[in-house]
Symmetry: C2
Subunit: 231 residues, 2 copies
DNA sequence: GCAGCTTTTTGATCTAGCGCAATGAACTAG
DNA sequence: CTAGTTCATTGCGCTAGATCAAAAAGCTGC
């Protein structure tokens, strides 16, 4: 059974600000679910039956062409909301990148609850507006930036959104962090091939912008330089 | 002075469903504004002071890099909503592609009104969710599709969203339509150069997929073929 | 340690789309 | 009608990034 009382993302998720009775109602339709890395929670084109809050872990939203090319269109962190409320179909595939835990709701039940709680809908609207800004900003990167600019932008963005594991410090951007992605996934985020991603990272290391202590670890050495490269 | 009573997008815009008293209140903070083609309504990075409903005309939302590359991230039609409610900054430049009329509101006044009217906020949420789906879908095109696929997708999308001028017929996709864009703008939508757009269109014409009666007119000859090309 | 994976890097080519330049077509204003 | 202006097309390299192929580096389990 779920308990919102002990939920670690309670104050940052869309649930924040709900009264205790409302939380109790929401609690009744909620179901916590564990997902292991690589597992898919919902499929593109499928009926939209679930929505969820991310409790822990990182997930990707992706779309693809019929011949197997993939584009990652969003990355989802703890306290973020996933799924498509008020819509019949999910237009993205949602897949866990790390082991994850999510708090799921049947979409229809959630929709009904949301319509009765303007404060919740307002939070959802705020988030959706932010996501839309983010997606549109990423369109500039996909459509107009060079491989070097893409990688530099990506590393800076990751240093902003990722926090070194186990560290609940102030949210200043960290210069060292562990990516929840392999090279292929970075390629799918940036609209590049895996080889180009690898070459660009090697180049940035050779030029002293970053260090690559291990496959998924990044240390930013020259943030200013990277910022300039990001365009 | 504005009058919602005679507004031609009243039933399709976010105002639809508001009662007549509420409409009167909204009316009081609204201001109709005419914009001529090419004129910019709001600038990227500027304080978000206005939001608006589009009454007539087509506008583009765009972002750019410091060195002048541009990416169009959205196209806005009559009854669509523009601007960034509940946010300090506008992250896109909004520019009229054709002569246009919009119904503007001071953002702060609109925000306050919206917070008092859950039904309105719900409509706004629905629209924002649809726009987010659209933006993410476009990311696949920008990141993963070839020039031919991009152009084919674009033409099909335009035939869906544009209606031949002066024709209030059922909304089946029209095979002939007039684009509100020049070649450079098509390029900025698709993340291509103007030359590539031109060459691809010439190629599609040569291969019998489309006819190009004049600069901005398109006639789709082989919709099935285009659909196949779109990938 | 080693064998069998998977993932990443590196190398060598190829090509789609870019960038530049010239030409041509359409629109505007006298 | 003509000159000026803007916009679109076409031609010709060139290059960033894709593609194909192989080697190297990490993991996993024994």
């Amino acid at each position: 059974m779920t308990s919102c009382d002990t939920c670690i993302v309670r104050n940052r998720s869309i649930c924040a600000g709900l009264g205790s009775e409302e939380l109790a109602v929401l609690n009744r339709i909620a179901r916590t679910r564990s997902i292991s890395a690589g597992q898919t929670l919902m499929w593109e084109g499928e009926d939209s039956l679930l929505v969820a809050n991310v409790i822990e872990g990182v997930l990707k939203l992706s779309t693809g062409t019929s011949d197997g090319r993939e584009q990652i269109v969003g990355i989802v962190y703890p306290s973020d909301f996933i799924g498509r409320p008020f819509g019949q179909r999910s237009l993205q595939t949602v897949t866990a990148l790390t082991d994850a835990r999510v708090c799921t709701f049947a979409r229809s039940a959630f929709d009904a609850f949301a319509r009765d709680h303007p404060e919740l809908e307002h939070k959802l609207l705020q988030r959706t507006l932010i996501e839309l800004d983010r997606a549109r900003h990423w369109m500039l990167l996909l459509g107009r930036k060079s491989a070097t600019e893409k990688i530099a932008t990506f590393l800076l963005e990751m240093s902003d959104r990722l926090v070194p594991q186990g560290c609940d410090q102030p949210d200043a951007p960290a210069d060292s962090f562990t990516l929840p992605f392999g090279r292929q996934q970075i390629a799918d985020i940036l609209g590049l091939t895996i080889e180009t991603v690898s070459r660009q990272l090697t180049k940035l290391r050779a030029e002293g912008y970053v260090e690559l202590p291990s496959r998924r670890d990044i240390t930013i050495i020259d943030r200013g330089g990277l910022t300039a490269l990001a365009g």
